[in-house]
């Protein structure tokens, strides 16, 4: 079977390890990339489902090199890398800024928004996650899929011999960081970055952050004077008087409401009128009945679980 729905199946042969000395295959599902919002690169992109957790760009280069020849893969983007990493209040408000906060792979590092130093030497992929492989041209995509189909045909012929499938991690030994204890040792090292680097990093972040805050303040100031198409002016925070924090205002409001409520309650609980006393008593009685019903229900539930009322032996 070479296809499931739109997906072409590409089994990858996994070499045995001393800890798990079984020869296994890992299944990749491939299809042409067709995102909801099309981009110019779609034609030469391949959408891969179920990438192994230790996938790196190098792995995919090697796999497709064995299928279509070397040098065809331009880049690989993994699932969570495409996701926006820093969703913050500003991000939602300022679309432009959000772009700048994206992961390093987008090439925005030079803009100066500081990502914290990496603390792993290579990242892991979530099990069953996806990736997009960008080829140099659309032709390479087609030839890659074709090569897969061909492999399927040949494997059908020679049943039981699937040694022809691409081997995971072949040809890249030494090019990627090692897993196992080496990875955690490296993590232990990377987790404590150099102080000066960190300091610079924080400074850069704060400068950028302050710049954006300023920008926002300016924009808001501008908006104060600009009526929208219906002729209304949006009221924004900060005016001639110093800016008050919105939560402070909220706090004040709740405080006032609380005070008001307390006052009212005091008046009521005093039982000034006869009807108040009567109502209060009624409420108490109702509470008693309610509680009793609750208790009865609870005991009933306990009864259902046998042995609840049987003394232990």
């Amino acid at each position: 079977m070479s296809k499931i729905g739109e997906y072409t199946i590409l089994p990858i042969s996994i070499p045995p390890t001393p800890a798990y000395p079984k020869h296994t295959t890992h299944t990749l599902y491939l299809r042409l990339h067709a995102p909801k919002i099309p981009t110019e690169n779609d034609e030469r992109s391949l959408f891969v489902v179920n990438v192994p957790i230790d996938s790196m760009v190098a792995h995919f280069r090697a796999v497709f090199a064995s299928l279509t020849g070397a040098g065809r893969v331009e880049d690989v983007t993994f699932e969570h890398e495409r996701r926006c990493a820093v969703p913050s209040r500003e991000v939602a408000l300022v679309g432009k800024a959000s772009k700048k906060r994206k992961r390093g792979s987008e090439g925005t590092e030079d803009n100066g928004v500081a990502e914290l130093p990496q603390i792993w030497d290579r990242e892991l992929r979530r099990s069953g996650s996806t990736a997009v492989v960008l080829f140099v041209d659309a032709k390479s995509v087609k030839s890659a899929l074709k090569a897969v189909r061909k492999l399927h045909k040949s494997s059908k012929k020679e049943k039981g011999r699937d040694g022809a499938w691409p081997i995971w991690g072949a040809g890249i030994e030494g090019k990627v960081a090692k897993l196992g204890s080496a990875r955690y040792l490296a993590h232990q090292r990377l987790q404590y970055p150099d102080e000066t680097v960190l300091k610079m990093n924080v400074d850069a972040f704060m400068t950028e952050f302050n710049r954006m805050e300023e920008e926002r303040a300016k924009r808001e100031k501008r908006m104060r004077n600009v009526p929208d198409e219906d002729g209304f002016v949006t009221v924004t925070r900060g005016g001639r008087t110093g800016p008050a924090r919105s939560e402070e205002a909220e706090q004040k409001k709740t405080e006032m409401a609380e005070r008001e409520r307390k006052k009212r309650e005091e008046l009521q609980s005093a039982g000034f009128y006869r009807f108040q006393v009567r109502e209060q008593r009624k409420a108490e009685q109702g509470e008693l009945v309610r509680k009793f019903e609750e208790d009865r229900k609870r005991v009933g539930a306990m009864k259902e679980k046998r042995g609840r009322f049987r003394p232990e032996r």
Partner: protein
């Protein structure tokens, strides 16, 4: 009492009056004929009454503890009542037949003792069960048998106050011996008992032939009293009939008032010493036990009448008896001498007596209008308020002269008998202590104590006592000067009790001595065959005094006292001068654990007073649990050292100059700083603390913090760097390092600072900023943002609340209580070890385990606060096994200030959770405390339902094992886990397994090289296996559930998520690795399934050199 409840009482009375007329039939005087005492048809009473009472329970607050309690009591009464018709099938006929048979036994002429014995032996092969000392063969008096004057059925069968139990239920049949066979002086020198024994043997002989088909006959001592042999008939089971699990006891009794009550007063002597006949009048040591044994034989019918009248006059009486019976049973008390000598008969008789009097100015203690619960509680109150050993109580007896027998006295003047004659002083103290504990828990208004009052079995030795030891009786009996009847076991226990009380003083709170239980024996021999009897002594420690090393005796000047002290202690007593100048007799014990001190004292005492033979038979049980804990020596010491380092650290930070903001406080949040980590925190200058202790630092509020969560996290880095450099300036030997964490969670704390002192103490500092909460809350509320962003913010908020708000409070509470209760810390550590060994520690947070143990200490009912690791651990285990977390929250009241309202609101919250999430996908356990009324702070993400059920089932099987093995339990067996239940097991290579790393870290080093090298600093916080497991968990969130052992940690086990295993059509975001399952052209084409082998291969690849083998079980 409110007018409402008064109304209810009246109603109740009318509703049950019907039953009263029915029970009239059971009136004893009117029925020498048994037919009317036959079991009545199952009464409609319960169904009818509960219906009435259910509504009454609405207003039951005053009469019962609470309406909930009342409802539960009703259920209990319904549950424990045996089905008389079913259980005692055919009993009426059997009783009739027996009565007829006994009445038909032919009368025997007076025979001398030797003739009578011989005749019974020759013709019937029956031995007369004469009590010790055996009668003189040449005695002048003769033994006779004539027709009994009365045959009657008595006891709880008639009163219908039996409860279901696992042992056989017995029906008491009283055979009243005719007055004609006795003489006035027969009360003296066992003559009554010899005649009684002969009478019993005659009945046995008469019945033997005729009932052999149906019943098995045996002798038994009634309530273990050697003076009261009785005949016991057990229905023989055959193939056609169902097994009947009851027994009929035939009890010979004396007619009432046959001996003058004044002669059998507890202060009188009835056993004249043989050799000292000449000064008979001069020394007459009272024989209270002997006298009461005769009197109790005379009083059977009288007590039956008393109970009947109580039953008739008071509605609550019957249920109060059943409640009392259940209460006693759960505490291991029964009428048997070996089980305390206070059983349901004594309870019922005491209740009946208290209905008649006993209060001040001859007022009665109980009123007939009391509800069953009020009556039950009032009897407990009576038991706990009076010390009947020191101040005997007498009823209807003006002339009672207080004597001081060794046991408690409750003298029933009307019947001339001490009701508690079978009790010893220690069993009485135990009963009182239990009554006091139960009373205080019934007075607890916050929590419902129904289960601990009636359901939980509190008498299991390992859960009840801190240390238990066995010792065998010496071969040469130790004689006491008393001439009262006393078995050798009773005599020896009395001596042991005296020695222990004097020798252990306030080291122990309470103790109990149990002799062997007497069993029934064949009618062919006169007495049960004796095996080498041994005593079981159980002790409850006083944690404050148990490990005292020096005992102070009397000063040397007080010659008399000093001499007594020396005589008691022998060569161990030595004269010492103390710092304050006083010269005292004293004892010095070698230091060690509380157990080792206790053992050496006890062994010494036994050896000194009972000889090396008895001391050699000593066997101590109880220390095993404490020994399981890692690390030796006084455990609090290393925790204390770390606490001190923390205070030094705090002071240093406080004194820092140049901090950008004012410091508010530094709060510890680490298990190592609250005395509760499994491993003791050990560090030295060459060897820093492996896992730095977590500490939070909070600054005064400032408007200069940025208004954005991510920016706040970054700002913290700058702060930490500043603190680090300041600390390094202050003290050169300090090393600081800034580390990053939560790399993929921008909302959460991203940096921490390791502060490593020259002494080896290491701390991990994080900054707490309270603006985060507001900002995160705002983000969650903001509907305009992406839902994923809001989810992230919500999880960040829950992490924030847990680690910055709850943890400091929790740490403080646990630390405080660990110093208050010295045993809380070892118990927590042992409990954590149990969780860890069973691979649950990765799923259930430390704090939850701490709360579970803290509950055992804060709400210890039905026991008192644990005073040993064993009791603390086993009681916590028992709680877990009984905890139904689906409907019950765990509530820990640290300060004792919670009200029932708080508890109600926590319950309501749990119900609300269950309503929202009935499948329990999110929150499973609900652990609330004073600090966290939401109950989910530490159980928010885990354990899952699977893990929680596993916890319960493991605890259940552990408790079962404890119950089955009892004293033979090997504590280690509770900590052995099997990995067979898991789908696959990852074996770590020995180099990375916990054991090895520890060994490596503790390699001896040269003293002069003990300095922080880069290498030693690098290992601070380095735990590759942990990181590996964390990554596995993250990568396979939905696929595999991982289990692992923290220490020594050589395996990781995994279970496939059953939801993931099922085949399904291909979808892009499945979140686990798959492979096609279908075959082309068939129906299941396009279906995929979990690719287990590919995942295992990935796990192996990720583990690399750390994994030695992956074993797949299925």
């Amino acid at each position: 009492m409110s007018p409402l409840s008064a109304k209810r009482r009246k109603l109740d009375h009318t509703s049950t009056s019907l039953d009263d007329s029915e029970s009239e039939a059971n009136e004893p005087q009117s029925t020498p004929n048994i037919s009317e005492e036959a079991p009545a048809p199952p009464r409609p009473r319960h169904t009818k009454r509960t219906h009435d009472d259910d509504d009454a329970a609405l207003y039951a607050g005053g009469i019962y503890k609470s309406s909930l309690f009342k409802l539960q009591v009703d259920e209990l009464l319904r549950e424990v009542a045996p089905n008389y018709a079913k259980r005692f099938g055919g009993l009426t006929e059997a009783l009739h037949k027996l009565k007829g048979l006994i009445e038909g036994i032919e009368e025997r002429d007076a025979l001398s003792i030797s003739d009578a014995t011989e005749w019974l032996h020759k013709s019937h092969k029956i031995a007369v069960p004469f009590p010790d000392p055996k009668p003189d063969k040449n005695a002048a008096y003769k033994l006779t048998y004539t027709r009994p004057s009365n045959i009657n059925v008595i006891g709880s069968y008639v009163l219908r106050t039996m409860v279901k139990s696992d042992s056989t239920l017995s029906v008491d049949m009283l055979v009243v011996m005719p007055a004609s066979i006795f003489q006035e002086k027969d009360y003296l020198n066992y003559r009554y008992f010899y005649k009684r024994a002969y009478y019993l043997a005659c009945i046995t002989a008469g019945l033997q032939q005729s009932v052999q088909e149906e019943f098995g006959l045996a002798f038994e001592f009634l309530h273990g009293n050697e003076l009261h042999p009785i005949l016991i008939l057990k229905p023989k089971s055959d193939a056609t009939k169902p097994v009947l699990n009851y027994a009929i006891k035939i009890i010979p009794a004396a007619p009432q008032g046959i001996f003058a009550a004044s002669k059998l007063h507890p202060t009188k002597n009835s056993v004249r010493p043989k050799d000292s006949a000449e000064h008979e009048r001069a020394v007459q040591v009272p024989t209270p036990f002997y006298n009461a044994s005769i009197q109790s034989d005379c009083n059977f019918e009288s007590y039956l009448k008393l109970l009947h009248s109580a039953l008739k006059s008071s509605d609550g009486f019957k249920d109060a008896c059943i409640l009392g019976r259940s209460w006693l049973r759960q505490r291991g008390f029964a009428s048997q001498i070996s089980t305390g000598g206070f059983g349901h008969f004594e309870w019922a008789a005491l209740t009946a007596l208290l209905l008649k009097g006993g209060g001040a100015k001859d007022h009665s203690v109980l009123s007939p209008g009391y509800s069953s619960y009020q009556m039950f509680k009032a009897v407990l109150q009576f038991l706990s308020a009076h010390d009947l050993v020191a101040n005997p109580v007498a009823y209807e007896s003006i002339d009672y002269v207080a004597s001081r027998p060794p046991g408690p006295v409750l003298f029933d003047g009307h019947r001339g008998q001490n009701l508690l004659y079978k009790m010893t002083s220690w069993s009485y103290h135990l009963l009182r202590e239990e009554a006091r504990a139960s009373l205080s828990m019934l007075n607890d208004a916050t929590f419902d104590q129904f289960e601990s009052t009636f359901i939980v079995r509190t008498s299991r030795p390992l859960q009840r006592w801190d240390c238990i030891f066995k010792l065998s009786l010496p071969s040469q009996p130790i004689r006491t000067p008393s001439c009262d009847h006393m078995s050798s076991v009773a005599e020896f226990s009395l001596r042991v009790a005296e020695v222990l009380a004097e020798g252990l003083t306030d080291r122990i709170k309470i103790f109990d001595i149990k002799g062997p239980e007497t069993t029934s024996w064949s009618i062919k021999s006169a007495a049960p065959s004796t095996v080498q009897p041994s005593l079981m002594v159980s002790v409850s420690f006083d944690p404050a005094n148990i490990d005292r090393l020096v005992d102070h005796g009397p000063p040397a000047e007080e010659k008399k006292k000093a001499a007594k002290f020396q005589k008691f202690w022998g060569e161990k007593a030595e004269l010492r001068r103390f710092k304050d100048g006083s010269i005292l007799e004293s004892l010095v014990w070698s230091s060690g654990s509380s157990y080792s001190i206790f053992q050496s004292i006890t062994t010494y005492l036994v050896k000194r007073h009972f000889g090396p033979e008895v001391a050699g038979s000593l066997k101590f049980i109880g220390e095993g649990f404490e020994r399981l804990l890692l690390g030796s020596g006084p455990s609090t010491k290393s925790f204390e050292t770390l606490r001190q380092s923390f205070s030094a650290f705090e002071k240093q930070v406080r004194d820092l100059e140049g901090l950008p903001l004012q410091l508010r406080h530094l709060s510890p949040v680490c298990a190592q700083l609250r005395y509760s980590s499994i491993e003791l925190p050990s560090f030295s200058s060459g060897q820093p603390l492996r896992n730095p202790a977590d500490v939070l630092i909070q600054f005064e509020g400032s408007g200069r913090w940025p208004d954005d969560v991510v920016a706040i996290q970054r700002t913290k880095i700058a702060f930490l760097l500043k603190i680090g450099s300041l600390l390094e300036e202050v003290d050169e030997s300090t090393t600081t390092r800034l580390g990053l964490e939560n790399e993929d969670k921008p909302h959460q704390n991203c940096a921490f600072l390791h502060v490593i002192y020259g002494s080896g103490a290491a701390f991990r500092l994080r900054i707490h900023n309270d603006r985060e909460q507001i900002l995160l809350e705002r983000q969650i509320k903001d509907k305009s943002t992406d839902h994923r962003v809001r989810e992230d913010a919500a999880s960040a908020l829950s992490v924030y609340k847990r680690s910055f708000l709850q943890l400091p409070l929790h740490t403080q509470s646990i630390a405080t209580h660990c110093t208050r209760f010295p045993l809380l810390s070892p118990t927590i550590r042992l409990m954590k070890m149990w969780f860890d060994r069973h691979m649950l520690a990765g799923h259930i947070r430390d704090e939850v385990i701490e709360l579970l143990v803290a509950r055992t200490f804060m709400q210890p009912y039905p026991w008192r606060t644990p005073s040993s690791t064993m009791t603390g651990f086993l009681r916590t285990l028992l709680f877990i096994s009984r905890w139904d977390w689906r409907v019950e929250p765990l509530i820990v009241d640290f300060t004792g200030t919670m009200t029932s309202k708080d508890v109600d609101s926590i319950n309501t919250r749990l119900e609300a959770w269950r309503k929202i999430d009935p499948a329990m996908n999110r929150t499973v356990l609900f652990a609330a405390s004073n600090h966290d009324k939401t109950g989910t702070a530490f159980t928010d993400n885990g354990p899952s339902k699977l893990v929680a059920s596993r916890m319960t089932s493991l605890a259940r099987s552990a408790c079962k094992l404890v119950k089955e093995k009892d004293l033979e339990l090997d504590p280690r067996s509770l900590f052995v886990a099997s990995t067979a239940d898991y789908d696959f097991v990852i074996h770590l290579s020995p180099h990375f397994a916990g054991n090895h790393q520890q060994k490596e870290a503790s390699k001896p080093k040269y003293k002069n090289l003990e300095m922080h090298s880069e290498a030693t600093l690098d290992i601070v916080g380095y735990q590759p296996v942990h990181s590996y497991i964390d990554e596995l968990k993250k990568v396979y969130t939905n696929t595999v559930v991982f289990f692992h052992v923290e220490l020594p940690g050589s395996v990781i086990a995994g279970l496939w998520n059953p939801q993931a295993v099922a085949p399904r059509p291909l979808k892009v975001n499945l979140a686990y690795s798959t492979t096609p399952a279908g075959v082309a052209g068939e129906e299941n084409e396009g279906v995929i399934q979990l690719d287990k082998s590919a995942i295992l291969a990935e796990i192996a690849r990720l583990g690399g050199d750390m994994v030695s083998e992956i074993v797949v079980h299925r």
